[in-house]
């Protein structure tokens, strides 16, 4: 087409602190065109979408909407200019009706400033008719709708007036096949009406159905801009192929004793039929897309999210933790995903944070604490992990994110765990500290501890793990070691490409 594209990005870049989320991204989408955006976790897709939706400003580069510069100050401003986004996790007012939801923030009023409900209802009915939605939904509370219906209402809200660009963030991840097909119809209809569609997805199988073209982001850089259909293996090759050392920093310790075995672990709606083994001194990675059930599984092993079926053993004896307390007593430690809300006690000192999980061990008669023993342990933790706290009394909030994380490591190491589960151990931590944490994790394993690491960063897992397990939609779909432990194989398993002959479980 020779006409001006609806939206044009030129050299868009964005950094968060030291992390470069996007660099020099350029592409355009024409009116009525459907563009899919592909990329691994953390490739920059979300950042890109948030820039377009007015959540973050871009640091560099320009975005044009039609021929005009486009720099929305807020999501509301983006919407007013015709750019709308529907997030993966639908956000709405659950106790308000569908009609009220659609018009919140842009109510229609008459000359007296009274809400023009009849006019709003008419508009919404028309919009619903365009999208072939049931107008009967308009008076139902939003919370009573199914997820698919909620999503369609949000799309209707997004497109309802002067919408020129619609961004859909993994919309089918929560839908059944039939619901997804209905969604594709809606997308087609909008594209036919001239809306430019940006469609984030992880599903190669729907690529040809929903998109005319696709782009691939990798480490914040645009590495491909191609028409559909495309060969899936070719896409995998473009998404992976990172120049990193895929050989683990350590030699795989073989023939060690089994530490944790998990057989047939099941929890409805979260994970099914999980079989896995962690050996003493082994570092096992758990990879998968956000929502694949990794954290749920880890919490289950830690006793906080008990499974409904299945059996576990720890060091050869039966292990059935009913609470985190029991898991800790059995020798399992868990470092939560969100350091700020689930990990540190921000009002307490570094030393007290380290001591928090092992107070029982130092409690004498009548619950009196053995202060000397405790202080020795804290001092050891601080020096062993090289935490930058001048004294144990130093407030934990005065430490950098990386050192806060090391404080949590020290807390759990003080409990002398046999199995250490780490959920996103280096998220939001600077590169230098990250490398230090990696070498410390390897150090734990060298002393015979079993480590299970959940991470969305493939390079991290490739750098420290002996073995990498892949979860997809609640199932363990691959157990990769040795030569198989490479980026392309992991992505293939994660995204479900060619999984007819894929390995199931261990």
């Amino acid at each position: 087409m020779t006409t001006t594209p609806t939206i044009t990005l030129h050299g868009v870049g964005k950094s968060f602190g030291a992390t470069r989320a996007l660099s020099d991204v350029s592409f355009s989408v024409a009116a009525g065109e459907r563009l899919a955006v592909l990329g691994e976790n953390g490739a920059g897709k979300s950042t890109l979408m948030k820039i377009l939706a007015g959540v973050h400003p871009a640091d560099t580069g320009t975005v044009r909407l039609g021929a005009d510069p486009y720099t929305p100050a807020s999501p509301a401003a983006a919407m007013a200019q015709g750019v709308s986004i529907v997030y993966q996790e639908p956000s709405f007012f659950e106790h308000l009706t569908v009609l009220e939801n659609i018009f919140t923030g842009r109510e229609l009023v008459d000359v007296l400033g009274q809400l023009a409900w009849r006019r709003m209802r008419r508009q919404a009915t028309e919009a619903f008719a365009d999208l072939k939605l049931d107008p009967g939904l308009l008076d139902r509370p939003m919370g009573s709708l199914s997820l698919a219906e909620q999503q369609q209402v949000l799309i209707a809200r997004a497109v309802h007036d002067r919408c020129r660009v619609l961004i859909l963030d993994e919309p089918t991840s929560i839908l059944t096949a039939n619901e997804a097909e209905r969604l594709f119809d809606v997308v087609d209809r909008l594209a036919a009406a001239g809306v430019a569609i940006l469609y984030i997805t992880h599903r190669f199988d729907e690529l040809a159905r929903v998109a005319d073209r696709f782009v691939i982001l990798k480490d914040g850089v645009l590495v491909a801009d191609l028409p559909t259909p495309a060969d899936h293996n070719e896409i995998i090759r473009l998404m992976s192929g990172r120049q990193i050392d895929t050989v683990s920093a350590r030699e795989n310790t073989v023939a060690a004793a089994e530490l944790l075995t998990v057989r047939g672990l099941h929890r409805p709606g979260e994970f099914e039929d999980i079989d896995l083994t962690v050996h003493e001194g082994e570092i096992v990675g758990l990879y998968g897309l956000v929502g694949a059930g990794r954290t749920e599984l880890a919490l289950s092993i830690f006793g906080d999210n008990p499974a409904s079926a299945g059996a576990m053993t720890l060091s050869g004896s039966s292990y059935r933790p009913g609470s985190a307390r029991e898991a800790i007593a059995a020798g399992v430690a868990y470092l939560p995903e969100d350091r700020k809300t689930q990990g540190i006690f921000p009002a307490m000192s570094t030393g007290k944070n380290i001591a928090a999980a092992s107070l029982d061990r130092f409690a004498g008669g009548l619950g009196r604490l053995d202060r000397t023993g405790l202080n020795t342990m804290v001092a050891e933790g601080i020096s062993r992990l090289r935490i930058k706290a001048p004294t144990p009394d130093f407030p934990i909030t005065g430490l950098s994110g990386g050192h806060q994380q090391k404080t949590l490591f020290a807390r759990w190491l003080a409990t002398d765990p046999k199995l250490f589960i780490l959920d996103e151990p280096t998220r939001g931590i600077d590169v230098g500290t990250k490398a230090e944490i990696h070498s410390q994790i390897i150090g734990f394993a060298d002393q015979g501890m079993g480590v299970l690491i959940i991470s969305s960063e493939l390079p991290e897992l490739l750098a420290v793990c002996d073995r990498i397990l892949v979860m997809r939609a609640g199932r363990l779909v691959a157990d990769l070691r040795g030569e198989d432990r490479n980026e392309a194989a992991i992505l293939r398993a994660t995204l479900g490409v060619d999984d007819a002959d894929g390995k199931e479980g261990t």
Binding site: P75, A76, E94, L96, T104, G105, L115, S173, E206, D499
Partner: protein, 337 residues
Amino acid sequence: MTVLTPEPTAGPASSRTGRSISSATLLRSGLMPVLLVLELIVFGVLSKEFFTAGNLSDLVVNSGDLALIAAGMTLVIMLSGIDVSVGPMLGVLTWGVATMTGAGLSPWVVVLTTVAAGALLGAVNGTVIVVGGVAPIIATLGMAAVYQTVLFLLWGSRDLFTGPVVPLLSGQKALGVPLMVIPILLVFVVLAYVLKMRRFGRHIYAIGNDATGARLLGVSVGRVTFGAYVLLGALVGLASMIYVGRVGVVQSNSGSELTLAAIAAVVVGGTSILGGQGGVVRTLGGLLFIAVLQKGIVLVGVPALWSGVMVGAAVALAVSVDVITRRQVDRRERGNR
């Protein structure tokens, strides 16, 4: 190839939704009417005077001040806020009313000044909450202590005796109907209209559901919240004049009994303590329930002290039903992740 995987989880989860919502909804909207009818039957049977015209108009006169406060409180609670300073705030305002009346100011000057002063105190609460970012319960708890002390100092061991300021805010009757019914009904009608038909009202619902979501859609969360506290303050001002007319005296702890009663009327009426759901018409039902309870207990011959126990129990019941049924909805959401 892979599309089918979510089906088993999404299927049962969404069908579960339908059931839990309908039973929850039933409990939510059905509880208040049932309690009220039960209460009317019990008191009607136990006391012959209960359904007389005199008793019914007494009900209104005795809870006119409470009604106005509860109306404003409804908006604040719908924002998932709360104001526990209304009782002591009213106490301070009644001192002002008694003093101004004693100084011989014209009644309408007293009315306007008191309403404006109430709005000002509401603005103080609103500022601490919106600008200061303090949780509403803490902010207003602190202000309650301030107002209590201020009233104690103003009172200075001298009870002020006073009477109704204007007939319209008193128990005076025309054709058997207390005149205060007129301003009270007007307030409820206007607020019901605002909640249904004005942006301000719709934004209160949206903020109470999800303040962040509302902000992202361009709703000015701070301004709406501030406005609700100012409105509540102004209504407390209006209520303080009914209060002095009814009680006739200003003491060191005047008004403090109204805080719990006002919150009770709102939540027993069926406005969610978690915000986002409710309305002033429901609060009328809650008011009726509490007024009938307080009056009925006296007529039946139970010591009046017990009404506190009953009101407290009703609040606990209403709030736990609210929180538990809402939690069911939340649990469904999490199950679908």
